[in-house]
């Protein structure tokens, strides 16, 4: 089971985590937590979803738990941490791979940090991970309509953010 899941999805899950937390070591820690939960709960996997969406749902929960703990450490109350409305803000710099990416993509990364948690999650799943609307809905336990709406709002927000950056740049030139 481990080998099958690893061979099929490990790099996808890792990429999902590293784009969320923007830190390679932390992504490795979280990937470890994903496998711990997978190995401990595989017997309860009922097969109501595909293994892929089940695995990503666990990865999403592990990441949210991380952001929740980070919020507690930063003196926000657990009660008030709602990942959908809060920013899933990564305090660390982008991984070195991303630093080598284009300036435009760096701006996208930066703008993503200002999105709400649900928007950031949907953008990473839909675009970076190439997950379908149905898969994203299943992982997030949402309706497909909610995925579409959130994606639409995220795109609109990102476009506005990037437009502002462009206008700022134009002013300086």
């Amino acid at each position: 089971m481990f080998h099958r899941l690893y061979d099929a999805y490990h790099q996808d899950v890792f990429q999902f985590l590293i784009y969320l937390v923007k830190n390679r070591t932390l992504a490795e820690d979280l990937a470890h937590e994903v496998y711990v939960r997978v190995l401990r709960s595989y017997d309860q996997f009922a097969g109501n979803s595909s293994e892929k969406t089940w695995l990503f749902a666990i990865a999403k929960n592990v990441a949210i738990d991380h952001f929740r703990k980070q919020a507690v450490r930063q003196k926000h109350s657990l009660d008030f941490f709602d990942w959908e409305t809060e920013q899933l803000h990564s305090t660390t710099p982008s991984p070195e791979d991303v630093l080598q990416a284009s300036d435009e993509f760096m701006q996208v990364q930066s703008a993503l940090e200002h999105c709400t948690g649900d928007q950031k999650m949907v953008i990473i799943m839909r675009y970076f991970q190439d997950l379908s609307i149905a898969e994203t809905a299943q992982i997030l336990d949402w309706t497909e309509a909610k995925v579409k709406t959130t994606q639409h709002r995220a795109i609109k927000f990102l476009r506005q953010q990037l437009q502002q950056v462009r206008e700022q740049e134009a002013k300086w030139q």
Binding site: F2, Q44, R68, K75, P95, I155
Partner: protein, 436 residues
Amino acid sequence: MAMTHNQFDDDQLEHLLNNAPKLSDRRSKEEILNRLLTDARLQDNAHLQGAIQQPIDDEITAQEQQHGNPPQQESTETATKKKVHKWPIFMSVAAVFALTVFTGSTLLNHNDTKIDQANAPETSQYSISPDDHVAKSSINHDKMMESNNIVAEHSRIMSLRSSVYEEDLTDAVVFHIGLANRDKKSVPMTYIIPNERVATDFPKKKPTTLQMYEKYAPQIDEKANGFTNYHPYKGELKEKGDKLVHVLPKKNDYDVASADTKEYLDTLQDTFSDSEYKDVEFENSDGTAYKFSKDEEPSKSMTLTSANHFNYYLYKDENGAEYLSPDTRKTFSTVTEALTVMRNKNDDVYVPVVPENITYSVKEVAEGVIVTFDEPLDLTTMDTVRATQMIEAMMLTAASFEQQIRLDNVVQESWEGFDLKNFLPKPVGANKRYMP
């Protein structure tokens, strides 16, 4: 795609998003497995055992295909495979350490000793010389040890456990202290101090609990940790035989209102109840018994060793930090009663850690106390932090009665390193911290 200063449109954005750089994990599958094998939470995990077995089988199969092994070798290989299947999990670390070099070399070397060399001439060319084997094994072993240390450190940081257990104290001691919070309550904290540090601070003789308090209490930055600046106590603390004496200043903050006195006495209990002192006496500077303003009579000594049995709830401070703490210091005469009412909310300060919808029965047996959930409890359906807090609060409640606890009818066999199939360890103290 170059970004121009034209209107930024959705197509440009989608293009950027669709062409995000691919980020990959540079670690090998073996490294990931190694780390999983050293995680206590996966001890005896059948899927993990299956995972480490598969590459060995694959390797053997590959070798068989590659070597075109003669029939007599097959029987030896089969025997070896069966032997590998019987490896218990504690051997798993060694098993994975072997995956790269060891599997090929050892199995073949193993065969070398058993197989008539004359009948298996081809085997030798695949064997690694003993020197190579030792050298590579040694390098792998060093890497493994290094990896284990890193993993242990990560596990410590990532662990959701909040209490201190005997296993935390292999080379350290605990220092208990009741810290005062904004609600004028004492929160029992358990600080871990390395033996080495205590030996340096007290080179001549094992310190008394009071000496430990005088040395380490001032080193805790209570304010920075969200507590009130309370320690060290004002006045003078001194030992008198097996008693502790607190000589209180004439004017002090411990005797302003009854809530202040209760807070003071609770912090004393949390700081000194697990000590060599049986009682604490309260005195004026002239040696007479101190009279608290709420009392008619001068104070009598307070017993520190009295069996005050509590149940544990969640306390959250204003910064969102969470602690497991006795619920309003309400005491219980039986562990069954204390555990049974843990779902009840009694005030606004302490929050029950057991969700309302989870019901259970409690049974006291010779070995300890058994909580049996009415419905199979799947901990993965709960928030992981909440699930761990519930388990630890029950463990602390049982420990308050000097009992160990077992949780029955839980779907998972282990959780956060706790073996749920058996009685759980008795925590040494709540709210683990490392002495700064």
